[in-house]
Each structure stands twice: as C-alpha cells, then as structure tokens.
C-alpha cells in the first residue's frame, strides 16, 4: 500500500495481507445478508470495526505522512489513494451508523432499542453499493501490492516447498 513513501517490515506486511484477505471475505459475506442471515450480517459487521481499526493502525505511518504532505509536494497516486481512503472511511462509517439504526439482532441484544428509521434503510443500501464500488477501486489501485505480496508470502513459499520435496524425491 505504501511502498512509495513508507517502508514497512515484513511481519507487518504479512499481517496486513491476511487482515485484508479477512476484511475482503467479511465484506463479501456482509454484502449479502439474505444468504448469510441477519445475525451473521450484523455481528460480522460489528467485528469489522475492530479489524478496520487494526488495518488503519498498520497503515498509520502512511496516513500521517500523506496528511502532512497533502497540500505540498505529493505524487498523484498517493493523493488519489488518500482521497479514496477517506471516502471509504466516510462511506464505511455511514454503513455502520445506518446499519446500527436499523439493527434487529445485534443492538437489541446489547440492550439498545432504537426507533425505526425510514431513511436509514435506504442510506444503508446506498452506502453499501457505493462501498462496493470504492472497494473495487481501492483493490485496483493496490493491485500490484496484492500480486507482489501474495507472490512473496504465499506462492513463492509453496513453490519452494514443492521444489524441496522434488529434490528430496530425486535424491532418494
């Protein structure tokens, strides 16, 4: 994500990769509440707040650096990414707030009973659809990072494992 400005450690990158994979899967599951069921939809969405916070903490140096340099000299890609990430954050917040306002399982279980909100249902659907588009653009802008990191931490180790096994078989 931040190779242009900030260098992250290998373990941080690995954590970020698996966290992002989990977030991506969670997003796909929560995008279809009719199939997953309302309980899974709501509880999974609430847990995404924690995962999202960790995701932002792992990118903290990048966020701080770009915020500092935003009005000054900054590459076009970093600027686009920064604006897009803010849009994603605002949209994610709207999804969460509107979801909380129309919650039928999680919030009543926690003891919060809110009056029915007519606008929130529409806002929830609209923000979720916008979120899907923003996530698509976010994924596209980080595609090189995704391909390289998957190669480095998943495909290359698997290939190495098979190569070692093949060498052992050949020597026997």
């Amino acid at each position: 994500m931040s190779t242009e400005v900030i260098k992250t450690t290998s373990s941080q990158t690995k954590t970020k990769l698996w966290l992002d994979v989990a977030l991506f899967i969670a997003f796909l599951v929560t995008m279809d509440p009719h199939s997953s069921g309302l309980a899974i939809h709501e509880w999974l969405s609430l847990s995404v707040i924690a995962v999202m916070t960790i995701h932002l903490l792992l990118s903290w140096d990048w966020i701080k650096e770009i915020t500092r340099r935003f009005l000054g000299k900054l590459g076009g890609l970093n600027r686009t990414n920064y604006i897009l990430n803010w849009l994603l954050f605002i949209d994610g917040t709207l999804i969460m707030v509107s979801g909380a306002m129309i919650s039928e399982v999680a919030l009543p279980y926690l003891g919060f009973v809110l009056p029915p909100g007519f606008a929130w249902r529409r806002l929830h659907d609209m923000s979720a659809n916008i979120g899907l588009l923003l996530l698509g653009v976010h994924t596209a802008l980080h595609w090189n990072w995704i391909v390289n990191t998957f190669g480095k931490y998943l495909f290359q180790p698997i290939a190495r494992m098979f190569a070692i096994k093949a060498n052992k078989d050949a020597s026997v």
Binding site: D32, H34, I49, L57, T93, A119, R122, G136, L141, W143
Partner: protein, 105 residues
C-alpha cells in the same frame, strides 16, 4: 501507549462522523415516515402503514429465501464481478503502461 492513542484517534474520528451523520439525517427530516413522497402501502385503503414490531418491514427477504435457489452464489458472483471489472479497467492499463515504460528504457 502510542497504539492506544492512535486507536482513540481513529475511534474519535469515527464517532464524530457518526454523530454528524445522525444529526444531518435528523435535521433534514428524512427520517419521518412519510418523507419520500412515494405512495405507502395501506392495507384497507385508509390506514397508514406501520412496520412490524422490532424493526423495519422487509418483504423481499422471506419469499426469496423460500425459492431455494443458490441466491448466495448469485450475490457473491455479482459482487466479486463488480470488483473484478474495476480491477481490470483500472489496474490492467496501468500495468501495461508500466511495461511499455520499462521497454522504452
């Protein structure tokens, strides 16, 4: 300590935005039952429609589930498809341009 402060900053921004959104929706009056101007379902032609207790009325959920078709598959394919198309439209030309640049050098 640093992580705790950062977490609090993220949550503070999140809750500030949430508060602003709630205030904006309430102030706009969009939350009123008859805000959107669309004709509402009135069972006897007269009474105002009331959602069932415990939440909003979502008529489409039950009858779609009853069909038994693998709806989850359609939803999943649609969502992944949207993301895949965006990745192709944005990332592919970028990688092609990069390759051309490399070849030129």
């Amino acid at each position: 300590m640093k992580t705790l402060i950062r977490t609090l900053v993220i949550l503070a921004v999140f809750f500030t935005l949430s508060g602003a959104m709630v205030m904006a929706v309430n102030a706009s009056g969009a939350n009123a039952p008859d805000f959107d101007g669309e004709p509402r379902f009135r069972p006897d032609g007269g009474e105002e429609f009331r959602p069932p207790e415990g939440g909003e009325f979502r008529p489409e959920r039950g009858d779609r589930e009853e069909r038994g078709a693998p709806r989850w598959m359609f939803g999943l394919i649609k969502n992944v498809g949207v993301i895949a198309v965006l990745v192709m439209v944005i990332a592919w030309p970028r990688s092609l341009a990069k390759k051309k640049k490399k070849q030129a050098v």
